[in-house]
């Protein structure tokens, strides 16, 4: 296979043919004749070589390479066995270096080149496991999409994944937290396509009168703090910094105040405010909502110990 950017030498036989055009009497037909000649002989002359027009035109032209890539993707999709599909993907990635704009080792950011080889192994596995996502992500029906367009989408998908994996490998090397995506996704656990595609959304049978009443009850509780649960929940050092004060400023006020604004208004260290908010106020809010009748997951109700 020849790289798309490899120089193309004119075939020796073409030179005398082209020169013979100069001997034609009807000189005004020369450009047209020459074009027709090239079009007719194009596939013979450049068999197996990327077309010349792609770099100059926005209209993708299907090439033999594009056809091969599309065919390999379809073959891989038809393989139910992981190992068979992996083999097809490996063949596919052997070709990807020849596709325009693909992130080869030479073309990826300098800082990531060191991690490329390790990342490539991960990318191969990821693409094998998630090949169904490819057509979803780029919203294409591979069978009915032109090979050139399939190739363009594949390059985008590959570029994204190889770079994400290079960054992930670098993260591991630097011992920063990472996410490992080598496990099957939850989507793969779905048994049929019907399980993934939801039905059109039915009109929810919601009693808005009841919901509105409950919401107003919650709002009234937060505004009045009738049991002083909110105002009594405060930092020891700064009683003014209590849950009721924060709720008034961050929930009932529109637009809500930022922590910085509250810090300035109350003249209390930012740390004390955010700790109280996240450790005490947010779980207390859930607790009050549950008391009023909202369904709340138990983990939302757990207040964290404040070190103060």
């Amino acid at each position: 296979m020849t790289r798309h950017d490899a120089p193309v030498e004119p075939l020796p036989g073409l030179v005398p043919v082209a020169a013979s055009f100069n001997l034609w009497l009807h000189w005004e037909l020369k450009p047209i004749s020459l074009t027709l000649f090239f079009l007719a002989r194009y596939s013979d002359i450049f068999s197996g070589i990327i077309e010349l027009s792609r770099r100059d035109s926005n209209v993708p032209v299907n090439t033999e390479l594009d056809l091969k890539v599309k065919s390999l993707i379809l073959q891989a999709l038809a393989e139910p066995e992981y190992s068979q599909r992996l083999r097809k993907i490996q063949s596919l990635l052997d070709l990807i270096d020849y596709l325009p704009k693909s992130k080869t080792k030479e073309r990826i950011d300098m800082g990531l080149q060191t991690y490329y080889d390790d990342a490539l192994q991960m990318t191969v596995r990821y693409m094998t496991r998630n090949l169904d996502k490819f057509s979803e992500n780029y919203d294409i029906d591979i069978s009915n999409t032109t090979p050139a367009n399939v190739c363009q989408c594949l390059v985008r998908w590959y570029n994204l994944n190889i770079k994400a994996d290079c960054i992930d490998v670098r993260r591991r090397h630097r011992n920063i937290r990472f996410v490992h995506l080598d496990e099957p996704t939850s989507e793969e656990n779905a048994t049929t396509k019907e399980e993934i595609i939801p039905d059109p959304r039915p009109e929810p049978p919601i009693d808005y009168v009841e919901q509105q009443e409950r919401f107003l009850q919650l709002k009234a509780y937060l505004e009045a703090d009738p049991e002083q649960r909110l105002s009594n929940c405060c930092t020891r050092k700064y009683p003014i910094c209590n849950c009721w004060e924060l709720i008034k400023r961050r929930i009932l006020k529109s637009p809500p105040q930022t922590f910085q604004q509250i810090k300035k208004d109350l003249d209390i260290p930012l740390d004390n405010i955010t700790r109280l908010w996240y450790n005490k106020c947010v779980p207390l809010l859930a607790e009050i909502a549950q008391q009023i009748g909202y369904e709340i997951e138990p983990r939302r109700l757990q207040q964290k110990e404040d070190e103060e």
Partner: protein
Amino acid sequence: MTNATEHCITIRFQKQDCELAEKFAASQPNAEKNQQVYRNTLAVLAVNTFVKELRYETDLDAGESWHPVLRMFHNVADLVLPGIGKIECCPVILGETAISLPEVRENRIAYIAVGFAEPFDKVKLLGFIPAGEFLDETEAISLTNLKPVEELLDYLDRIELGIPVAQVLLEEVLSDLAADDPVQARVRENLQNKSIAEIVAILNQVYRSSEQSDWGYEGGKALAIIGASSGGLGGINRCLSIHQSSPVEKEVKAKLNIIAEDLLEKLSEIWGDGDDFALS
């Protein structure tokens, strides 16, 4: 159609995504809020899927959009990336030409436009805008200003790399600032006004748009503005007062210029020239 939206990514929902969105929406007090929470939940789930595909960790539960009371009172669709910051997922209905920015914007490092069209079985991620690219007072961003969503990977990488570097340097700077000096107290206030991730996001914008010789001036100006713009019109007024330049403010600005330049020099060592995604 913009360059960014031509390169959107489609995310298809699973049945359980729609069920969860319906569950969150069901407890809202009216139909309008119901629709808002439904779309916000799906927008967050779609971005969550994409960000995880980029090998980044997420924490749905930590977002305000996942809290039963907070989402009832505010229009929020935040997705938490632990150790990095939040991405706001902004639903865009077919035909809309801009994303409305939320009123709550603390710790947001980016805003992603999530395009909805009936039936809600899938959405298109239309593009994103980094937090440092607009002023706090901005209420909406035109879709034509979005960056291709695939470039989010580069952006998150820069923020993730920048946070520890900026943290070390800022800690050093803050420990050297005296509390009783009015200039140094103001500098401290400026630096503590946003999270480290937000500061890195803002400096990233300066780095991308300014010559190296302007890093101090442009970076200092950006730090001064974030210090002043803690929300509302008070922010704008204070921002303007910096430009009116009392002696203290001049000194604050000069100090911030030096800090910004130092930060950008350190960050440039890890950011390098970067690499824009080749969008074929």
